[in-house]
């Protein structure tokens, strides 16, 4: 028994190493003069300073953020109301509705990308733009958001708003004062997950945005002749921002300033 346990621990440690080594490497290289063979280390901050002047990068960052936020909000909204319907109303149709919402999980992104490209261009005559990228990313992101909300709210007691109604709260007031305060963390989770998926997406976004740069398409373009050090720097900054955000969230939760879960 002890044996299997320690093997499991080693496997987990190895998995973390495997998952984080490349990311650590990206961060390491972003501080190095030479990105091709950065040994022995030669630290510099010049790549970060260079970021300030690179207009391409600024545009790409803005585009990626727009796609991420747009997708995050839209898919969390669609997914949340559907998940509430599926969890609350024990209809014969709930399985079918859930299946329809989860189906995009099982479609390769490349296929979603080219399908949207052809549909927009051939049938609707629309050129690609940031808006169509948001719409295309929202398809699969809604599925992920739905999954997150469904898992989070599976234990929510929907009779609480029945209780509120018996005690005199009309439906909207009941939703506002009882349901929403209890489910918003799950909705926020769905927004974050779909934001990250769309923000980092290449295979869907690539076919929608045409010549407009996003961070992943920029990186894709650069891959052929070696990624620039500035991109490493930007990626490190984004990583840092995301980890800071999640870390702050964690601290707020630990200190009790923010409560996600009122169960004991």
């Amino acid at each position: 028994m002890r044996g299997t346990f320690s093997i499991q621990v080693q496997l987990l440690a190895l998995l973390y190493l495997f998952l984080y080594a490349p990311i650590a490497y990206v961060i390491y290289v972003s501080f190095q003069k030479d990105s091709v063979w950065p040994f022995p280390p030669d630290f510099t901050l010049e790549h970060y300073a260079d970021l300030l002047h690179l207009r391409d990068f600024h545009a790409a960052l803005v585009n990626s953020l727009t796609i991420g936020i747009g997708t995050g909000l839209l898919s969390a909204l669609l997914a949340t109301i559907a998940a509430i319907g599926v969890l609350r109303y024990a209809s014969r149709w709930r399985g079918l509705v859930a299946a329809a919402y989860l189906a995009p999980l099982f479609i390769a992104h490349l296929l979603i990308g080219i399908a949207s490209l052809m549909f927009n261009k051939q049938l609707l005559g629309l050129p690609g733009n940031i808006g169509s990228a948001i719409l295309a990313n929202t398809t699969y992101a809604t599925a992920f958001a739905f999954l997150v909300v469904l898992a989070q709210l599976a234990k929510h007691d929907w009779r609480l708003d029945e209780a509120a109604m018996v005690f005199g709260a009309p439906p909207l007031r009941a939703f506002w004062s009882v349901t929403l305060p209890l489910i918003w963390p799950s909705v926020l989770g769905a927004v974050i997950v779909s934001f990250l998926l769309a923000f980092n997406n290449l295979e869907v976004t690539f076919y929608q945005v045409g010549a407009r740069p996003t961070l992943p398409t920029l990186a894709w373009g650069e891959l052929r002749h070696g990624v620039s050090e500035e991109l490493y720097a930007l990626a490190s900054l984004i990583n840092a921002a995301i980890f800071l955000f999640l870390g702050a969230l964690y601290v707020l939760l630990r200190t009790g300033a923010l409560r996600l879960d009122y169960r004991d």
Partner: protein
């Protein structure tokens, strides 16, 4: 019963092919009224219809004379105590309790006053700032009751509120809930499948099965004078004897059981020659040491000491086992001992078999 506060008229509700309420008529005044029935008998549906959480297919619900059948729950002014309490987990005890007052637009001063009054009544003083997850089961129960009563509703509906409490706490809360009703004079409609709770607290009660009200009446009346075999079998701990009716006289039937002529009150249009079931509550049977003298003979299998009384398990002819409750007697704590039983004819109730 005083004037009716709640009146159900021909209330019917179907869920698919299941009839949860089958033309139910009830009148409830300023009393403690219990709906008692096995699970699936439709009693919770009845409560939800009264609260406005379900709309009946047919029939009317009247509260204080007004037809509220199609009114949403938030306009009915009733209070409710739910089975798993359903306290709002993100609100403190105080916030939970004053929620109904806030919904009614009671100003803060009035809310504070009512909060003080109700926390006194239900003994929750000092816990106002806690969250539900920081409370014990009994405290949660008190908060749920306080929330249900704080606005002095026209009715308080209680849906198996004690089902999730342990036995000792349940005993304590039964007495408390009864006290609240007596003090506030608000009609309580109490749903339960536990006859002990219903018998302890109610003034009147109704027995439900398959969406139908079988019998309504005072609790003693129901207990001692059941109109139907189901009611006779449901209340108390009755022993059942089945046999052929050999004679009828003065409202009493004689039933042949294993050669013994058992006597019981004849109910449900019993006729000579018909098969009948006879119910006798365990505490109505008298137990004698030794056999003979025209009593039903048996062998004592075991005696179970319960403190104030004892349950005697007696083996009769035909592999029949009956339970007799009575005062603990040392000479009867002797398994294997021959005994005999008898009861007075008025303490048995005989109904046509298969009804």
């Amino acid at each position: 019963m005083t004037e009716a506060v709640l009146r159900l008229e021909g209330v019917t509700k179907r869920f698919g092919t299941v009839v949860a309420a089958d033309s139910v008529d009830i009148e409830i005044g300023r009393e403690f009224f219990s709906l008692l029935g096995p699970s699936g008998s439709g009693k919770t549906t009845m409560l939800r219809i009264i609260a406005g959480l379900e709309v009946p297919d047919l029939g009317n619900v009247r509260i204080e004379g007004r037809d509220v059948t199609r009114q949403p729950p938030y306009r009915r002014g009733v209070g409710m105590v739910f089975q798993d309490f359903l306290l709002f987990p993100h609100k403190t005890v105080a916030e939970n309790i004053v929620f109904p007052l806030r919904m009614q637009g009671v100003p803060p001063a009035g809310r504070a006053e009512a909060l003080g009054w109700i926390t006194d009544l239900v003994h929750l003083k000092g816990l106002e700032g806690r969250f539900p997850h920081q409370l014990s089961g009994g405290q949660k129960q008190r908060v749920a009751l306080a929330r249900g009563l704080v606005s002095r509703p026209k009715l308080l509906l209680l849906d198996e509120p004690l089902a999730n409490l342990d036995r000792e706490l349940r005993k304590e809360m039964e007495v408390e809930i009864r006290r609240f009703q007596l003090e506030l004079k608000i009609p309580f409609v109490y749903v339960t499948h536990n006859q002990e709770e219903a018998l302890t607290m109610s003034d009147r009660m109704a027995i439900m099965r398959d969406g139908r009200i079988l019998q309504v009446g005072g609790k003693l009346d129901l207990y001692h004078h059941p109109d139907l075999a189901f009611v006779a079998g449901f209340l108390g701990a009755p022993n059942v004897f089945e046999g052929k009716v050999t004679g009828l006289a003065d409202g009493l039937a004689i039933i042949d059981w294993q050669g013994y002529p058992l006597q019981a009150r004849a109910k449900g249009g019993l006729a000579v020659g018909q098969r009948a079931v006879c119910f006798v509550k365990s505490e109505k049977i008298e137990l004698f040491a030794g056999t003979g003298q025209g009593r039903v003979d048996g062998v004592l299998r075991d005696a179970i000491f319960k403190g104030q009384y004892a349950d005697y398990l007696v083996h009769l002819a035909g592999a029949r086992e009956v339970t007799v409750s009575g005062p603990p007697r040392a000479e009867l704590f002797a398994p294997g001992r021959p005994v005999s039983l008898s009861w007075s004819a008025e303490d048995g109730d005989a109904f046509p078999a298969g009804g």
